[in-house]
């Protein structure tokens, strides 16, 4: 509440370090977008236009703000902006145009803010190159493929380069060292070697890549370490991975109800930078599903059994008390102790009661029969 009355306004820090890098990870799977368009009447070109308006709005906030766009395509991850320095930057779309058309476009763009135009042109040209290199056969081969882990990894390494000068957000820890440090970007740094703030926006239409659980989680923890929030705009198929990503990193998770108005959601939900977010109530999802799925039956669990060597989760003690992941013989006798209350009731009568209550929680059965045969 004391934020509202404005007392904080006076000890507000000088807004020297408000520059933010916005990395947008965009699903470009044509099949997923085609399916999505049927249900929501939001086509990819229109979505891209709205995203570019959002990116421009971000760039308009500060001269030093920057933006990068990464495509999560069917055959992997591609940087749309900044485009790969190694490739040719020709725009395949421009080949069909007559010189008159080009002139027309140039006239249209003449009064546009240069930074906006550069970003737009680069993203659109890169995207056209990407689609030109994609064959229909490739689309059919991998209808739901998503390289979420790779896209997040690429985004984080890029952020590490731009915002942290490659230091990985870790100061050397030696006193007096970081004060004199000026990183490769030449800017002022804070105690973690950071010159800019960063945030990631994931616009996703593909389902969770189930085989990438560990890499995705690794990326989430790296983002947490760099204090980079991962915002998620989930247009189709609710996902657990991205929910956890947004929750763990303090980002916004949204599933737009009316995807045609994507721009509205982007502007209201995702545009505020880290300073503005401190004083806003973010429209994020509060109840996140944290329950784990067991490795044996894929059941969602409240209480499970965990192998102490490889941390695999089981819904019941595995057969023969051998972990199915790491093939280690497990000691199940200790489970007897875990079920018991911390303080043992001294009286006999009470002890009986405690024993009676045990079978409900499934502990007694686990302790009595180490290898249940179902």
């Amino acid at each position: 509440m004391d934020k509202v009355d404005g007392t904080e306004h006076y000890n507000f820090k000088a807004p020297a370090d408000v520059a933010t890098l916005q990395v947008i990870i965009l699903d470009t799977n044509p099949l997923a977008w085609a399916t999505f368009e049927k249900s929501s009447s939001l086509s990819f070109p229109s979505a891209l236009s709205q995203l570019l308006i959002f990116a421009n709005a971000h760039l308009a906030f500060s001269q030093s703000n920057r933006c990068a766009v990464i495509a999560n395509h069917i055959d992997g991850v591609h940087f749309l902006s900044p485009a790969d320095p190694g490739t040719d930057h020709s725009d395949p779309g421009e080949a069909d145009l007559t010189p008159e058309d080009l002139k027309e476009i140039a006239n249209q763009n003449a009064s546009k803010y240069r930074v906006f135009r550069l970003l737009e042109d680069e993203v659109r040209a890169s995207y056209r190159r990407l689609i030109a290199n994609t064959t229909p056969e490739a689309v059919m081969d991998c209808p739901n493929s998503s390289y979420l882990a790779g896209a997040l990894s690429a985004a984080l390494t890029y952020i590490n380069r731009i915002c942290f000068g490659g230091t990985g957000g870790r100061s050397s820890g030696v006193p007096g060292d970081e004060k004199s440090k000026v990183n490769s970007a030449g800017g002022k740094v804070d105690e973690t070697g950071r010159t800019m703030h960063a945030k990631i926006l994931v616009v996703s239409v593909t389902p969770d890549p189930a085989n990438q659980y560990i890499p995705v989680m690794n990326s989430i923890f790296a983002a947490q370490r760099l204090k980079v929030p991962i915002d998620v705009c989930k247009l189709r198929d609710a996902t657990v991975f991205l929910q956890q990503a947004a929750d763990a990193t303090g980002g916004v998770y949204m599933e737009p109800e009316h995807p045609q108005g994507l721009l509205q959601y982007l502007m209201v939900g995702f545009l505020p930078d880290h300073l503005a977010r401190q004083s806003l109530i973010l429209p994020t999802k509060v109840d996140v599903d944290f329950r784990a799925a067991c490795f044996c039956h894929k059941k969602v669990l409240d209480i499970g059994f965990v192998c102490s060597v490889c941390l695999s989760i089981f819904c019941e003690p595995p057969e023969g008390a051998v972990c199915s992941t790491c093939q280690v013989k497990l000691d199940v006798t200790s489970l007897e102790n875990i079920g018991k209350p911390v303080v043992l009731p001294p009286k006999k009568k009470k002890k009986k009661k405690a024993l009676d209550s045990l079978p409900e929680s499934g502990v007694a059965s686990a302790a009595d029969s180490p290898a249940p045969t179902e």
Binding site: P45, D91, I131, D302
Partner: protein, 527 residues
């Protein structure tokens, strides 16, 4: 500090050695040669184990950094300097990456020296303040790396063992305990190894068998005042299979080495004496990585029962069962429905371990480490012009692209050195050392990365951005067509599509058409 630098005389007798680089402590000169091994307690053992032994101490081999510097082709040492910088950066990275069993569930006692030796100012601002600062970092890092582990902190103060925080899994508790107890204590008196170790042993006594039992000792003093025989303590530590790591702040101490060797099955690599502040931190942070499980250890793997609670949001505040604080929302234990405000923890009512599945996921990178990347030779360097993931440009081979320019420079340098009589070798035979390519390749996907991405991927990310973001076809294309310019391997779709496939392909073509955007389309949104 009995010895001072003035006493130091370089003699040819076997035991006197030049000033130890590791010894940052005030003295650091040679110790008395005859009485060195006579006292068992905490005498400085800065000599080799026995005269004539083959093992040499690290500081005996003097390395001069300027010996490694070689002039490049253009007469500058810039290339070598970059190479050296990258070598030091990479040094910490290159470790064994075969997936090995590690003790993921750990129980560690951190023993801090709070004796008068910690008032020394050889580490800025003082040993004491720096140690407390690093201890805080250590607690944070330890729980980040080992979310389902436990920690306890003990201080060695005035000949006694001082309990700073109890065994627990909440980093915030340890940090406040450090703030409240350790900071208010002025370093005083002698340190007592035995008292501290016995207290640590008592703390670890009740820990379950499936977890590790470890002690990390920060030892600033060079002596220890013990009430009994420390060798008995060492033996009981070995019996209780407690592993001890020691970071020495002054110089090597014989009893510490013995302690580490005996508790680690004859391996004394867990005992390190610091060189400077950075090295101190490095040694301390090395203990945050879970230790490798040794086969002879008696630790029994077991199945643990754990609860995965769900988060609740309440309209009104209620007391949490762990701290009795009023909180809005928290986590509900799935067995006894008690509310706790912090995870991971043990349910205060029913004793069930409560964790999030993300805590388990945090430890996976210890079990499945990322492979080391290899340095790319110049012969393959031409395939990339920039780092794949952070887009920063790589250097190109100057000596190949502009040979004439180099030659001119070369002649001028030979002319300059001719007076010394060194430039006798013919020009062509003298192969100047090439500057490093500054490219590092993942062995699986053959993608080239820069040094910073290499370090970031191995230390923080634990993913290879290349492997995760290239389809198998693209990886194959990179491997086969090594000098490929771009990774568009999807173009060569093998095999004729079957007749039923054709219609699908036609549909897909339509979708592709839809996904295309008109050239030069303006910013206006349709709706």
């Amino acid at each position: 500090m009995a010895d001072s630098d003035e006493d130091f005389v370089l003699s040819s007798s076997g035991d006197d050695r030049p000033k130890a680089r590791g010894a940052v402590g005030g003295g650091g000169g040679a110790a008395g040669s005859s009485s060195r091994r006579s006292t068992r307690k905490s005498k400085r053992a800065d000599g080799a184990p026995a005269p004539g032994a083959t093992r040499r101490e690290k500081w005996e081999d003097i390395q001069r950094s300027w010996d490694n510097v070689v002039e490049g082709a253009d007469g500058s040492i810039a290339g070598t300097v970059i190479g050296l910088l990258e070598a030091t950066k990479r040094k910490r990275l290159l470790r064994d990456t075969t997936p090995i069993q590690r003790g993921i569930i750990r129980h560690l006692v951190l023993i801090l020296d709070l004796s008068s030796a910690m008032l020394e100012k050889d580490l800025r601002p003082t040993r004491f303040l720096l140690t407390l600062r690093y201890a805080r970092d250590f607690v944070t890092e330890y729980f980040e790396q080992n979310p389902i582990s436990q920690l306890s902190i003990i201080g060695m103060h005035d000949g006694l063992a001082l309990r700073i925080s109890d065994m627990g899994g909440n980093p915030a508790d340890h940090l406040t305990a450090l703030q409240e107890k350790a900071f208010t204590v002025e370093p005083k008196g002698a340190s007592s190894l035995q008292n501290a170790l016995e207290m640590g042993r008592a703390e670890l006594f009740h820990t379950p068998t499936h977890g590790t039992r470890e002690i990390l000792l920060i030892f600033g003093a060079l002596s220890s005042s013990d009430p009994g025989d420390i060798h008995d303590t060492i033996n009981s530590l070995v019996e209780d299979r407690i592993q001890v790591r020691i970071v020495g702040l002054a110089a090597q101490v014989a009893v510490c080495r013995e302690l580490v060797t005996k508790t680690n099955d004859g391996d004394d690599s867990a005992y390190g004496v610091i060189l400077d502040e950075g090295h101190y931190r490095e040694l301390m942070m090395a203990a945050t990585t879970p230790p490798v499980t040794k086969t002879e250890e008696k630790s029994v793997p077991s199945l643990l029962m754990m609860g995965f609670p769900s988060r609740t949001v309440e309209k009104h505040e209620s007391f949490c069962s762990c701290h009795s604080n009023l909180t809005k929302g928290g986590y509900i234990c799935p067995r006894c429905t008690a509310k706790v405000c912090f995870l991971p923890t043990e349910c205060p009512c029913c004793g069930l371990t409560l964790i999030l599945s993300t805590h388990l996921a945090r430890s996976y990178h210890h079990l499945f480490p990322l492979k080391n990347w290899i340095e790319v030779p110049w012969s393959q360097a031409h395939t990339s012009t920039h780092c794949w993931s952070c887009q920063s440009p790589f250097p190109t081979n100057q000596s190949q692209s502009s040979p004439t320019k180099i030659k001119i420079r070369k002649q001028s340098t030979t002319a300059a050195t001719a007076s010394n009589g060194t430039a006798t070798a013919p020009e062509k035979d003298q192969q100047p050392p090439l500057p490093p390519t500054q490219r590092y390749a993942c062995t699986d996907c053959k993608t080239h990365f820069c040094i910073d991405c290499d370090i970031f991927a191995h230390e923080s990310l634990h993913n290879c951005p290349g492997c995760q973001s290239l389809s198998e076809e693209r990886i194959k294309a990179r491997a086969n067509l090594w000098p490929a310019t771009t990774g568009d391997g999807t173009a060569d779709a093998a095999g004729e599509p079957a007749s039923s496939m054709r219609t699908q392909v036609a549909e897909a073509t339509k979708m592709l058409e839809k996904s295309k955007i008109a050239p030069g389309s303006s910013m206006e949104v349709d709706n």
